[in-house]
Subunit: 276 residues, 2 copies
């Protein structure tokens, strides 16, 4: 592990680290915010999964989350959104390949060699983080858009592993919308039955655990009707009796200005669960 | 004036506007944050001057200032750092030409045609802002690095025009350091006597008004000794009896992580003066 950046920030440190990922078969970077409370002892970790086109930089430079993490004593970990490097296969367009890993384990060539973001985010990265930073075992997960999908799916697929989950503008039903159908067709193949285990609405229907979902969605989001469709999650949660707090925010769009405006609420939500 | 961007943000709106500047002879963009309080009546304006290489985007996406502006009811205006466009002369290097206007009025060819950032920031832009947005007459000014120099110089040169001033990591003595000497040599020519009216330390010595200066400086700033040298400002203020609060912040560097950590203090400082 190599430290790439280190900046004092709200009494703690915002760092960027690089390491060789065995799961992904390439060098990866992630951001980690260490709040001032790490001087006193281990802190819980909130993982953040970013959206299409993002790297590890977007959340750490634009969300303003460090202020709230410093208030509550949470470590923030923000990975990249796909495998990277010259020998990693890519595609034309922003919504497939690099920057668009969709937090699945690809089964189809040529993607299956590197695109295993689920296992990276759930297994390899937390093991690395726990080995190098003063963490407790309490983990939460959140994310935006493709990363909101990632957070919901990761939490629902791995009951007991996360104590809290939330999402901004998530793709709640990737099997039903163009972004998800394009990515799943490439990464998972044409048998759409296999897609269902990567779709938050499908997972809610079969969930045994009842981890409450907090979702913020801007009503002026330019992708609302075509790609996001939060009413599908609302219907799935109602049908399954799964707890959901869906907050529709009038006037807000898909940008980091939206995330910045409500990330404080989300970090408070995670802190309540992680510090119990 | 053309609106380029508009995003809901902390109950207000973050916008970007483009207009033809007569002073600079080119199209210019600026960011404006309108807090929720503009719905109730006019609000004071805090101008923010950015540093080398920045556009109107850096401050509005990275500083996290909107949260505090929304709390205090301040409008934030963030201009670009130089004239722009294909027919504006540029130079090799990040510290001269585009992105490096230094908030002076250039007197030397070929710079004097477009590089008049002082008059743009002090005269043209506020007139435009006051004509288009619900402003009071109360103005403050702040900035970072080259823009910290700009904020101090603009406030000291124009007594009575700003009610409050602050700076992060300012170039306090541009006539004495490499960045300033390179820029002033190009923009103002070889007669160094003319440089003095654009140097905060020189201006403090001759200042008739006593506007208090708030300055934050990171002690781990990579440019501290070579380009910033805040002790020169401290000495000049002590000699002149000019009020200065210089805060040296241990561990902080020159980045926006530093600005984000203390912008709340600065906005509170300005709000106290602007809402009197």
């Amino acid at each position: 592990m190599q430290k790439i950046e280190s900046h004092a920030c709200f009494g703690g440190r915002q760092e960027v680290w690089q390491h060789l990922s065995g799961v992904l078969g390439c060098e990866m970077r992630f951001g980690v915010y260490l709040p001032p409370q790490v001087a006193l002892g281990p802190c819980p970790v909130l993982y953040w999964l970013s959206g299409l086109t993002c790297s590890e930089q977007n959340f750490i430079t634009k969300a303003g989350a460090q202020r709230y993490a410093a208030e509550h004593g949470l470590i923030l970990v923000a990975p990249d959104t796909s495998p990277r490097g010259e020998d990693v296969v890519d595609a034309d367009g922003y919504d497939l390949g690099k920057g668009a890993g969709f937090y699945v384990n690809a089964t189809e060539a040529p993607w299956s060699r590197h695109y295993r973001m689920h296992d990276y985010v759930v297994e390899e990265l937390p093991a690395l983080v726990d080995a190098h930073f003063p963490t407790t075992t309490a983990r939460g997960i959140s994310g935006h858009s493709m990363g909101g999908h990632g957070a919901l799916v990761v939490a629902l697929r791995n009951p007991g592993r996360y104590r809290s989950v939330s999402a901004f503008s998530p793709i709640v039903a990737p099997t039903r919308v163009p972004w998800g159908q394009k990515a799943f067709g490439a990464y998972l193949g044409l048998d759409t039955e296999t897609w269902r285990e990567w779709d938050a609405c499908e997972l809610v229907a079969g969930a045994k655990a009842r981890l409450p979902l907090l979702v913020d969605q801007g009503e002026a989001d330019e992708f609302l009707d075509r790609e996001l469709q939060p009413s599908r999650l609302q219907a799935a949660c109602e049908a399954a009796g799964h707890p959901l707090e869906l907050r529709l925010q009038p006037g807000y769009d898909h940008s980091y200005y939206f995330i910045a405006s409500f990330i404080g609420d989300h970090i408070a939500h995670h802190a309540r669960a992680l510090k119990e």
